[in-house]
Symmetry: C2
Subunit: 514 residues, 2 copies
């Protein structure tokens, strides 16, 4: 465990009737118990602390000995005194310190909206992680076992050696210029034509969504959105006070008839969609439906936010081009990210938009956090330029495709009748639908107990609904464990289906099939 | 120059009367002229492109030859054909492509506010950078010549080798736990007691400000703020629709009498201040004034946002402790950053706040960009744990202190009577005040022509004002060039002062002395 390099500041009060030893001991005890001084931190050398405080060395030694005897610290001869590891602490942390102001009366409307929506969508995955032997389909992230970590380390070294000081200094808000230029070429691969100045580098697609919401949404504006959809997109739009207009998905993705109705009736400010490898369903919209979508958007003059899961992670046939590639009316805002195709931990993505909008997005980016780390940008660029991204993607697409096939076969073999699911054409997940009377979230604790986890589907729905659905992410589950996971899950579901239904009396909104 | 790994997508239309060679050439020409294909990019091999398009190889070769003869590409025997460097292009880029929708009619109120304020504060520094021989005091950033780049590279390698896949995966929103724990210990050095769960890792102090504004400000709320102040703080609060209440600085920083008036009259939602090494003045508030400030804030129950320039970069005597260290009423929100004390390019900082508020800030952070890169967090932590930060800070404080002393001496020796300036006690800059009739921004072009640059002061003022002030940043100016820079500047000022004053008729708001 690491040591802090900083002296611990201890104030003593000579006028106080409390003995100095006790003052020193109490202060250190509090810092340790509150977790401010972490286990393994070295306490100041007794001699130095005594000198700094102007007290006798024995006074300090005595205080330290008392901490040791309480189990709060450990003395190592010749090395010093260290804060003890947690299991040696005799008491839990007191965590109800006074918090000063009544903060809850001060929160902004946006924060209140985000909180209300966030509570409804509280992820249940945290409780899940620590169960031993668990087969988790709850991830929704790339498999870190496939990460080209070593190659990326070399890319980082290369760029720091070549231009370290520049990459650690302030840098242009729009992004590291060679990365913008590279992306312009990269996007051509998908038929998207963007000049470098039409590309803004952001901290992953989430920041892209946030900046778009900031620049285009006022409270009360409405946003058309696929249902189900990416839950944090729902949350961001809500936090900016938007009304969400759900557009149901059919078996082939977004339903154009429903979209047309929504656009006609409500004139929303934006349409948000994931036409490729949709999260949570894994569906990909056909080329024909894409043309229809663009024609509707153009007719209704509504900007389209295309959350573009990289086509490189698609299974089977070649994917249709992104909406942005056929954006003759120039109303598509494209969001790209390295999180799915490389590493989420980079926090690196990009927006493509017509220049008048991009200027405003840049301004919002600057006020948000000045710019994205140029070091990370340069390293990702170098990695891509060495043609490592293509190689990595092929490998991942093959592996994820394999896991997806195993999952779909296993579902077909093991799931009881009445359970349906989407056949992912790309991405990380499929959405499963149970018979309506069964609540997926209520199943989760029992499933975890039996050693399998998933993400309850209601988080992907706009205004309630989806309670009988759940998402299965296959991207991070080892191929050899998928069938066993589905076996356990089928057992849990079968059992729930055989129980008399306790929720039949509950009014349930009918949810469009996905 | 790097090559893209991606094939260029070229569509041809066999039904068109336009010859195929011309179709290929036109498409590539447009991609090159618009900058989508960058200089140095390798065009697809002729043989492969011909095969992909199903055309004769000679058709492609001819198209390439025409590009070469136009100067848009270069053929290298045995290597292929490459996009030519900019100076070889015969025409400028056409940049007035249609932008589709009338985007300006769609921008949110926040974006319009940010734009209006941003235009007023447009940085003039960009025009400045490229002049050869320029001595610039316009930076406001640490000197990258002092960066411990190599040590940081080693820290990065170390953490990637130890836990690379975890650091490249998704990670907790609050921050990399060992970094939060380290900061809890680090802050004790300044007398600030914070448990790890009261610390939120953010992308630099700018994001800290943005999250605070998001969570606490509604349009129409008011924010008390020192005047002058950090310009991007002014901009962020404005973008959230806040009314700014300027509190003038005296010779020793924020004036308590003025603060008391503002708090009494307006009951603002927040007070934003930089009590240590204030930007742009470099002033540091005395311990006594800090006590007064806290007492006023507590009496008026107003949260204080303390933008805490690290005390490690102070000159001369030991700095008074941060407000947060004496925050008995628990109303101080502390913003810290690695940008000034280590590298701006990390985009790494932290917030300290009471837990009920921190929870909301965490939620806002999650919607903004999920979390800060754990790789960057772990590398910065490792760097600090190896006690390199302390060493780096001592070196920087000594060097910046030296530059500051040279600057102040040089100002005293060279500036004409009627010019005054603040004596920076920490940080990167001093603010200079000219006689009122002289407009600092109007002086800038002439100054740059004479080889010296500064930042006009009006950007640091809330509602106009400060036109006769400018900021001199000494942190990035080599010590040996400071006196020469000030000599040039004094010449420019002397000349302006000797001119009959053209702006005397203009109504000027009187600006409090800084």
């Amino acid at each position: 465990m690491a040591q802090t390099e900083d002296p611990v500041e201890i104030r003593i009060d000579r006028a106080s009737p409390v003995p100095l030893t006790k003052q020193i001991r109490s202060r250190l005890e509090r810092l340790i118990r509150e977790g401010i001084l972490a286990p393994g931190v070295k306490l100041p050398a007794g001699r130095e602390l005594a000198r700094d405080l102007g007290v006798n060395r024995a006074t300090v030694s005595l205080a330290y000995e008392e901490l040791v005897s309480e189990g709060l610290a450990r003395a190592h001869v010749g090395q010093g005194t260290f804060v003890a590891a947690p299991e040696e602490k005799s008491q839990a942390l007191p965590s109800n310190l006074p918090s000063g102001l009544d903060w809850s009366s001060l929160f902004s409307k946006g924060s209140q909206l985000a909180d209300a929506d966030g509570r409804r969508r509280a992820p249940s995955s945290q409780a899940v992680r620590s169960v031993p032997g668990l087969i988790s389909f709850a991830g929704g992230m790339p498999d870190s076992g496939l990460f080209p970590t070593e190659a990326f380390r070399r890319a980082l070294n290369r760029v720091i050696r070549a231009e370290g000081p520049e990459l650690l200094q302030y840098s242009p808000v729009g992004g590291y210029p060679p990365l913008r230029q590279f992306l312009a070429g990269h996007l051509l691969r998908f038929g998207v034509e963007a000049r470098p100045e039409e590309i803004l580098i952001v901290n992953g697609s989430q920041q892209g969504l946030d900046l778009i919401a900031r620049v285009l949404l006022d409270p009360g504006d409405s946003v058309a959105i696929e249902e189900p959809s990416y839950s944090r997109a729902i949350q961001v739009f809500r936090a900016f006070g938007a009304q969400l207009l759900p557009v149901p998905l059919g078996n082939e993705g977004l339903r154009l008839d429903a979209l047309e109705r929504v656009l006609g009736r409500h004139a929303p400010k934006l349409l948000y969609c994931q036409p490729t490898a949709h999260n949570p369903t894994g569906l990909t919209l056909s080329a024909e439906a894409r043309r229809g979508l663009l024609a509707l958007a153009a007719r209704h003059r509504v900007p389209v936010v295309e959350d573009g899961f990289d086509g490189g992670l698609s299974f089977g046939d070649r994917q249709p081009a992104p909406l942005k590639a056929a954006d003759a009316s120039r109303l598509v805002i494209y969001i790209g990210t390295f999180s799915k195709i490389l590493f989420p931990g980079l926090r690196l993505g990009w927006l493509v938009a017509p220049r008048p909008l991009l200027e405003r997005l840049e301004m919002a980016k600057q006020l948000s956090d000045i710019h994205t780390s140029p070091l990370i940008q340069a390293a990702a660029l170098h990695f891509c330029q060495r043609r490592l991204l293509g190689r990595h993607l092929s490998r991942c697409a093959a592996e994820y495709g394999r896991r997806r096939t195993i999952l779909l076969r296993s579902l077909a073999r093991r799931m009881p009748k009445g359970v349906t699911w989407t056949e992912a054409q790309g991405g990380f997940s499929s959405l499963v639908r149970l018979p309506e009377r069964i609540d997926a979230e209520a199943l989760l604790p029992g499933a975890v107990e039996r050693g399998v986890a998933f993400t309850p589907g209601s988080v992907f729905f706009v205004n309630g609904g989806g309670e009988s659905t759940f998402r299965l992410s296959f991207s991070s589950t080892p191929a050899l464990r998928i069938d066993e996971g589905i076996r356990r899950l089928a057992e849990v579901i079968r059992q729930a289906m055989s129980r008399p239904s306790p929720r039949q009396d509950v009014e349930r909104s009918t949810v469009p099939l996905v």
